[in-house]
Symmetry: C2
């Protein structure tokens, strides 16, 4: 099983605490030892780290845990390979430019034998996930005018996600830096932290943070993940088929579509 992690915030915020918990699951408290990657948006730019190795013992992951990189949108993935070998080109999140923005994509699940429709975007590696990402972007480029209102774009993305989810497990994180779209096929949780802030304790490491000392009363920071990362907070569980669009730490649009009942754990 892979695991996903994302953040949406109304002020540039680091992800050190959550990332510290998640990285433990990459070869220590969890089996996702085949790679990790993270994308931090800063304005229109994006800063990425990818490694086709266990995050729990990575020197670069350690730097990302301890060196605060502040962002309003971040997308992260730790990998236990199923489709596609363990290699750098198969490590999520995947990135492409569309309409002058960097889009990032991370996927938990598996859609066997999926191949991207022909188009501008082509996979570099051989994962089902990157094929789906390219397929989605090719579809958006051909179906949605660049100048379309955001609701039209969102409808097209959700319609595509609904179709992919009919074919297999498809838990999705997708961002263009401005917004973060999250789609739950089988498993996804979220938490929104705002004033009054309190302390929180990681499930996977003996680390506690006091958010009050790191925030201002106006901050709103949401974290989305495959499984809760803390043991003393209440995480909100998505329903299968539920999607939420996040911007500046809050849900700005949401909905529910029909998906098959795939109660078995997502393998990808």
């Amino acid at each position: 099983m892979c695991e996903l992690l994302a953040m949406s915030a109304n002020t540039p915020t680091d992800l050190c605490f959550s990332f510290t918990g998640l990285t433990r699951r990459g070869g220590d408290t969890g089996p996702h030892a085949d790679g990790w990657g993270i994308a931090f948006y800063e304005g229109r730019g994006v800063r990425v780290f990818h490694e086709p190795a266990a995050s729990a013992s990575s020197r670069i992951a350690e730097v990302v845990q301890t060196h605060p990189i502040k962002s309003e949108a971040a997308v992260c993935h730790i990998r236990q390979a199923n489709v596609g070998g363990v290699s750098l080109e198969n490590t999520h999140p995947f990135i492409r430019e569309l309409w002058g923005r960097y889009w990032t994509f991370a996927h938990n699940g598996q859609i066997e034998g999926f191949e991207a429709r022909a188009g501008v975007y082509q996979p570099v590696g051989n994962t089902d996930s990157e094929h789906i990402f390219c397929d989605l972007l090719n579809r958006l480029r051909s179906e949605v005018p660049r100048t379309a209102p955001e609701t039209t774009l969102l409808e097209a993305i959700v319609a595509a996600a609904e179709e992919y989810a009919q074919l297999g497990v498809f838990n999705l994180l997708l961002s263009n830096g401005d917004w973060l779209l999250t789609f739950c096929s089988t498993r996804m949780v979220a938490i929104t932290r705002r004033a009054p802030f309190g302390p929180a304790r990681l499930k996977d490491a003996d680390v506690t943070v006091d958010f009050e000392s790191q925030t201002t009363p106006r901050d709103i920071v949401s974290v989305i993940a495959t499984e809760p990362l803390t043991s003393d907070e209440r995480w909100d569980h998505y329903r299968p088929g539920e999607w939420r669009l996040w911007r500046k730490g809050e849900v700005v649009s949401q909905g529910l579509v029909g998906v098959p009942d795939l109660a078995h754990p997502a393998p990808g």
Copy 2:
């Protein structure tokens, strides 16, 4: 002035030594303090680090200096901004996917007011360099069939580079992971290291390396840069208008085109 650095090698090789020298010029021995970036290819994948800040005092650049990341092709840039603000999206090298490969682009120079022709690829930031990169890829996509022989592709790239160089200073590093194209408009140097290997001393830091202890007799490693990085080796100077295509540490194709005489230092 910006500075460029690239490597081509016939075996996965780290760039720690050269990168250590170059980073000093990013705010310590040189004025290029507005950002740095590096792309390391590993197979078809590419690992990138970007920071819109001085490399000489960067914790992440320090990790890249001391943690060996092994690659057969790498492209690096340190920036002193002229066109485009200091921001992550304006930090080289720029990356796009074309024909199922990640292409990376770094530029030293300035071409005032350049705008990419309309096409699939659009700049995310507002540097002349990213505009030129998008223009080049749009041009290749429209003029060169994907199945064209490599010589046809190379001719198209060199013809485009020659045109850009008529408009301003255009020293270029371009790679798709398989090959590295270098184009000299005003300033570029190279060195190829092979057995028997000897020691070398950086110009910008009190660091000496004995390459013999780090290599096998079959290794061939070439480094291309704006200015020589070592004080005790003989670097080969490109002529203005000279281009060289590198693969596995060696020049596999080269030529010379006409460029304007721009003897003043490249500002970008």
